[in-house]
Symmetry: C2
Subunit: 350 residues, 2 copies
């Protein structure tokens, strides 16, 4: 027999939460992913469970949201978990790892591959529950004032890049810079920095980097996809009625579908406009990619040797990645590569 409907009993409480986003409103898609969650939760609970989203800095600084949720300053946050790699390296697995998982693969790992369960224990130590809520897909490698032709060109390069990617690139002579979004343009214009990575064409275009750095590199090998996370204070999560937990989980999944679709629709025309404005599109040279790949796995091994929590997640993640890569090389990537090749030929003939 079914349990008596809780709503019919009037048993479900009115709940008001505040959600601190790590993103400014100007990044309408990634910030919008948090608002999408809030909107769906309200719609699914007849407005009884309301989450108000605040942009980065409105009530909590963008990079302080994990602490704010842990301390129950706010009940929730919408963020990218790799922002907290400095707090504790395993956070990064929940967001993006260099040469890691693409959107399909991280979705598989988190939603059905045991990744979320492995991370759950880690997050519980910080009093957090993390729910996947949005994805950017593969990001771009960023804007460079000069071309990168060899690994030697990385030496001394002042590159605005964060997290693990910064640590990897340090091994190759890069001087990683931490600069907030709004300060990148003047730094790049004056030459205080030589290069900066941000997100992808749609978001990058808004900050106008094409006017001060001619070379736009790909791929952002440190973000083959970026999983976005909806953090909830663990005690607050446990207090939620089951219907609200279900609504929040479904709203977060809904948000992944929505955000990924929006980025995939918005990025292509933005890239066209950038190229039309004179932006030079460049692939990182293979030699550079290979050096970065080797440095990445050196860093992973070093970090795993020092940090048992990292090692635990890393072992699970890496075994999953092994199996996924083998599979994706078969039907998925053969289909994509052949279709793109034929299409490129057609475009040349037009």
């Amino acid at each position: 027999a079914l349990a008596a409907p809780a709503l019919a009993q009037g048993a479900l409480p009115e709940i008001r939460w505040r959600c601190a986003s790590s993103f400014p409103k100007s990044l309408d898609t990634i910030y919008g992913a948090g608002e999408h969650v809030a909107r769906r939760v309200a719609a699914l609970t007849d407005n009884k469970f309301q989450i108000r989203v605040f942009a980065a800095g409105e009530i909590v600084p963008g990079l302080a949201v994990a602490d704010a949720v842990q301390n129950n300053t706010v009940e929730a946050a919408h963020t990218a978990s790799y922002y907290f790699v400095g707090k504790d390296p395993p956070f990064a697995f929940d967001g993006a790892m260099p040469f890691g998982l693409n959107m399909r693969q991280i979705n598989a790992w988190l939603q059905a591959g045991g990744g979320r369960e492995v991370l759950q224990e880690f997050f519980a130590g910080y009093g957090l529950v993390s729910i996947p809520a949005g994805n950017t897909g593969a990001q771009m490698g960023g804007w460079f004032r000069k071309e990168i032709k060899t690994v030697a060109d990385l030496n001394g390069l002042k590159f605005r890049v964060g997290g693990f990617a910064g640590n990897v690139l340090q091994k190759l002579g890069v001087v990683p810079q931490q600069i907030a979004g709004g300060d990148i343009y003047p730094a790049l214009e004056k030459g205080t920095i030589d290069a900066a990575e941000w997100i992808g064409p749609y978001d990058d275009e808004k900050l106008g980097f094409n006017r001060v750095a001619p070379y736009y590199y790909y791929p952002g090998w440190w973000e083959g996809s970026l999983n976005l996370s909806f953090y909830v204070n663990k005690a607050k999560w446990e207090e939620l009625p089951q219907l609200y937990k279900d609504a929040l989980e479904s709203a977060c999944r809904d948000s992944t579908i929505e955000t990924m679709a929006k980025y995939d629709v918005q990025n292509p025309p933005a890239l066209r406009r950038l190229v039309a404005s004179g932006t030079q599109l460049r692939a990182f040279p293979r030699e550079v990619m290979q050096a970065c790949y080797r440095a990445t796995f050196e860093l992973y091994e070093e970090t795993a040797a020092k940090n048992p929590a990292f090692k635990k997640v890393y072992d699970h993640w890496r075994a999953f990645r092994d199996v996924q890569y083998q599979w994706f090389r078969v039907a998925e990537s053969t289909f994509d590569n052949f279709a793109y090749f034929m299409h490129a030929q057609e475009q040349q003939r037009r």
Copy 2:
């Protein structure tokens, strides 16, 4: 001001729907996608909106579900729209088109690229509303008793393959066969047919094709992804309270996340088991792929010339595909290909 909560007013009705699936219960992931929708809808409406899912043939034959929903024999169905390409070719755009869109791309087209709006008009003509609800990813090319080395090897080949792919292959001499899932194995064993495509490793393994056909080809170029659809009788849809519409929409998106994750987790170990059992994995030769690609676009042009409804959707779809392919060749596929290449090298060294 917010509208007064409808649930609190007791204004929301108890609704019971029947949903006819096109899939048997033995295909637990694809059939499960429909059940996932039903389960989420119930959870999100405090069990007031209940959908009971019936397997193919229980109340409606698997390939008759579109008619059954149109006639209101059942309120809903869970299906693959290309099953109805014989009824009217534009149905196929909602499922999969040969050399069409991968999972990310069809999600983008339907959810944010205007595809759903274009198809909505078409579906309305059949009294249907179609909501994306699940995806299989890129499928395999099927099981062959003999190797395919040249286009000439397709001549006279009796291949169990349906829809547009069958029509494309007919141009190259294939004799397409329509055979229900359960009848494929004996036909392949006896040599009544030479080859059969089904889904991917996880589902194919269950039917035991590896015991009667040694060669397992990839990719299934006719299904770079298969979008699954939740059909609702249009009049019944319009009668739903807004909260139930929202619950159904979110549940369907939730189901896409769930189903895609499950297939991506289940397929790799199934493929390993098949290869361990002696299955010979083969890529379709490039010459064969190219001939199929050309025949596909000939067929599209011929169909568009005869069917204005097809042309309308095709023009939208093809323009979207152009833009998506250009974009996916940049960051997304460069990331994937490089990472897979490095990984394959590592695996060889182990």
